[in-house]
Symmetry: C2
Amino acid sequence: MEYKRVVIDGYGGDNAPVEVVKGIKKALDNINDLKVVITGKQEELLAIAKENGLENCDRLEIVDAKDVITNDDTPTVAIKTKTESSLVKAFDVLKNNEDVIGLVSAGSTGAVLTGGFLKIGRIKGVSRPVLAPIMPTIAGTPVILTDSGANMDCKPINLLHFALMASKYSEIMFGKKNPKVALLSVGTEDHKGNELVKKTFPYMKQIGINFVGNMEARDLLSGEFDVVVADGFAGNVALKSCEGTLKALLGILKSDIKSHTASKIGYLFMKGTFKRLKAKFDYDKYGGSPFLGINKLVIKCHGSSKAESFYQSIKQAYTLGQSDIVSSVAESVNNLDIKIEE
Amino acid sequence: MEYKRVVIDGYGGDNAPVEVVKGIKKALDNINDLKVVITGKQEELLAIAKENGLENCDRLEIVDAKDVITNDDTPTVAIKTKTESSLVKAFDVLKNNEDVIGLVSAGSTGAVLTGGFLKIGRIKGVSRPVLAPIMPTIAGTPVILTDSGANMDCKPINLLHFALMASKYSEIMFGKKNPKVALLSVGTEDHKGNELVKKTFPYMKQIGINFVGNMEARDLLSGEFDVVVADGFAGNVALKSCEGTLKALLGILKSDIKSHTASKIGYLFMKGTFKRLKAKFDYDKYGGSPFLGINKLVIKCHGSSKAESFYQSIKQAYTLGQSDIVSSVAESVNNLDIKIEE
């Protein structure tokens, strides 16, 4: 069998390394032609692998890395100097092995992006690589929000590239034909928005994607859109506002139920409803966010990721890494034939 | 008794004029020294007033206005030419009568803002007037988010003025001492943010407010902050994302409960919980958003406002209109003694 290899940072995220290994276990159980390389403290990882029934698994390879990059490290400094860290070692594995098709890490966002940029490199022609997180919607379909924090201040060309890349991503990852792409704005009318949105709007119609116009943030989770494009600041605000509201609401429900007997009884009958709600709004079900616009596939997982999310991210790396997403993106970006006024 | 008068646009919003009149009824019942002026089609209003037991009320005055400004009208044109509209007539009443201390309208946001600007005028020294909507938080306290859509692209001086004005508003409206003011950003660290946030940050410490630093959008509803400052684009994205998520979640809960018998039973037991949740996240309980930075008080209500929201908005106009908010704002803005690099 011809195996595909994915490398995973064994010490990235709040729940590493135990949940990372559990995620790997699930991935190896479910994907027959997958091999996983994990980086981190060899002895610890061996012990955890054993606990998870992976001690003799020839599809799991451990690369020793004694150091760890934390959120307190300055990304550029860390990537350049912490050469023995689990993240840098993972990038080395990705870079130096053609059959390693993707990297997964739940480590510091800044460090993962910097690593992707410095170690793997930008696709020629892409103005700004971008994170493209996937959010659940009420329709049950995913929506890709890009950018969501990597590029704070943007120009129209950046947003156009985000739109092209995420559109390709939606096609490949979710099998969408002509994914619906919207611009995040303050109203649905064509003329609504800040300077950036107003300048970008007319070009969105000229780049060969299925641009459906401006969108209000209140419709982000409606399921009407496959891709939503924003600068990194506004995208981050949208993403975090949705997450925060969800958390606030569920928190209030939980504590209110706990402190009222009738509600406790009611909860027993409504467990199914809450289970379905949780499943629908489960941010883990799609795994991490791909870092689009660099020469190999890098998936950034949420810092709080658990086994299921690591599993989904490995699956995503496995699927996307085999696709032609890098060359597709390169092609669509380089074929862009418009003159942009800044 | 010395009465305070508030004027209300009888034909603004989706539920006008019936819900407007109902809101007035509640306000007159609850506030003894209040008089209300309503603008709109006299005969219709008389009939509705009668239905609500207000036919002989000497504290309700109707000013005839045959025309209505809609969302399809261009704000500037409408304010200048639709002189017989309920909104323009309301602005005339506010402008020409010293004892009319505030105006309430659920009409087109653009028209209300333009009306405030053209008819009432900007406070001298205020760089940009701003809407300051109030959002509920999980702590049960309100948070003021400003700007939220009036000013798309901002400079640091605008954000500083928003902070000063909303801080005064929080003090006067909610009796907060040293309200906690945060900058909406993408992380809590001092250096996080886009160019605007990074430039504004150091000045926020020098303007005599209780600036507590950068805030992530996920903490908007935490109740840890009294005032959150943003440019109009980002603020609108935050506001609408929260509203949209809330609506999406409750919509899913509702439809799931409806289609599962066990959940229907559970719901009967949990009614109290949902009632309390709804009360906590009720956007209507604080009324509309004040338009800060103009020479008299204007409250913009949500287009979907019902009686309770109109009542709260009238109460807000009554409270704020009697305060020294206009002179306070003028004073704090004009005493600002910092040199800003743009």
